[in-house]
Amino acid sequence: MDMLQAILAHPWFTPLLLTALIIGLFPLVAGYIVLVERKVLADMQVRLGPMRVGPHGLLQPIADALKLLLKEDIIPEESDKALFWFAPVISTFTALSAFCVIPFASGVYVADVNVGLLVISAMSSVGILGIVLGGWASNSHYSLLGALRSAAQLVSYEVALALALLSGVMAAGTLSMAGIVRAQQERHIWFIFDNYGLMLIPFVVYVISAVAETNRAPFDLPEAESELVAGFHTEYSGFRWALYFLAEYANIFVVSAVAVTLFLGGWLRPFPNVSWLELPFNYGFPALLFLLIGLGSLRLARKLTWRPHAIGMTGVGLFMILLAGVVLIPPVNAVVSSPFWFLIKVGGFVYLMIWLRGTFPRFRYDQLMNIGWKIMIPVALGAILLNAIVGMLRIS
């Protein structure tokens, strides 16, 4: 018992546990983000999406993962073998490393360094190397062109992204991720609403640049199917391709987490300083959410004709209703409510990115560059100036 206490109280316990959880669970999470993406896109296009594997396609990610792991691993004859092997590792490694400074709740982070936000930007800029090298090492024209496009795009939008972040950093007065959330708690406001709503401008710039930075539609020119087959990962297959895939979804999660931390109050619930709202927001909302998901699943389960699927769906529904009950227990709620709010906001942001993908057509390359250099960067610079002036005036 003492031993257990000692282990739990050790300063390295939370970081190591979180690291293990992130590395172990994120591939699964990424798989389910993909499933959500496919389902949401299908819904937007009035289709059903994956339906066969598991009830309503709920086991599809596992089937996909198995398929990718069992596929033949093809290395092109004329490629630079060592680089070809190493490039996806860079991408995945940097994308997952960025997780180490993300605060999931108060005190729940791998590390709270005083340059947290810079570490994330550093990791994402090293991530570019994975794409560039992968494209070059494949020794294929499509890959090379995809890599060149990607490098130009990422370098361009990184500037706008960093400038948009700068406004938020100015409001917070710190680069530490946890410090930024604490600053919002002290100021009683999410930074997106700060400076009389002027912070909305950098937020919008951030959203657009983040979509471009993660190579997502409508900025997915590096892997534009109609022109470049698949861009930088044309020659990749099987497990290596899965690594790129994992990196892409990890990056999506990271940019969403940064947006949530910097602009949307991180792990704080809405109106974190109004104490009577604790009951509806910390207890009512999650319980109601899980309950509704559970009831919805039960309703879907009744319509399923194949018996195993119906049983599976009923199980999911009952589990969700059980979860709704569990979050109502006060000690559990105290632990769970902060990460719940963080993850639900990240989920909302990820949904927004899927929504954008389903809505906008792909930009042309010159349009992409024009948006980056002639609109995003000047707007972000102007927003910094405006927010600096307003922020200083308000303090004095």
Binding site: V115, A122, S124, S125, L129, V132, L133, L144, L148
Partner: protein, 169 residues
């Protein structure tokens, strides 16, 4: 103990990367070795509590400058050059010169008494949690003029490269 190990790891990365940079045939491999070397230097910054420089080194050097290098290497076709002789005609003169530079540095370090410092300098106390505030204070007060000059230099560089890009197209 731990940071002694880290020092040797980063030093190995730095030196190994540097040696590979100047010896590899393919420009792409040279650039990659340089990235490894820069990462090693970034790690050494971290060991010396220069967290800000660590981040800037990675964002600016690896994410900016080295990506530019890779970009240019991909644009110019150097396959032929990689098969040819790698050293220029004055390599003998160069050898003499670099040996001289190395000898001079050893002599200078020695005459400044650095080499005969006691083996274990007592660990200097940390300058507090994070030195970014101190850095910013200094940058925007005492070093304001150099800061502005640096921004002017960047502007000139931007205009210069845009001009160059225009002329060639």
């Amino acid at each position: 103990m731990l940071d002694t190990i880290f020092f040797y790891v980063f030093a190995l990365l730095t030196i190994g990367g540097a040696i590979a940079t100047i010896t590899r045939r393919s420009a792409m491999h040279s650039a990659l070795s340089l990235i490894v070397s820069l990462l090693g230097v970034a790690g050494l910054y971290l060991l010396q509590k220069a967290e800000f420089l660590f981040a800037v080194q990675i964002v600016l050097y690896i994410g900016g400058i080295m990506v530019l290098f890779l970009f240019v290497i991909m644009l110019v076709n150097l396959d032929q050059a990689a098969k040819e002789r790698q050293f220029n005609r004055q390599w003998l003169l160069g050898l003499v010169a670099s040996v001289l530079v190395g000898a001079q540095m050893v002599w200078m370090l020695n005459s400044a008494g650095v080499l005969s410092l006691p083996a274990a300098v007592p660990a200097p106390a940390a300058t507090g949690p994070g030195n970014i505030e101190a850095l910013a204070d200094l940058l925007f007060r005492e070093y304001l003029l150099p800061f502005e000059v640096a921004s002017l230099l960047l502007l000139v560089a931007i205009v210069g490269s845009v001009m160059m890009a225009k002329k060639t197209s």
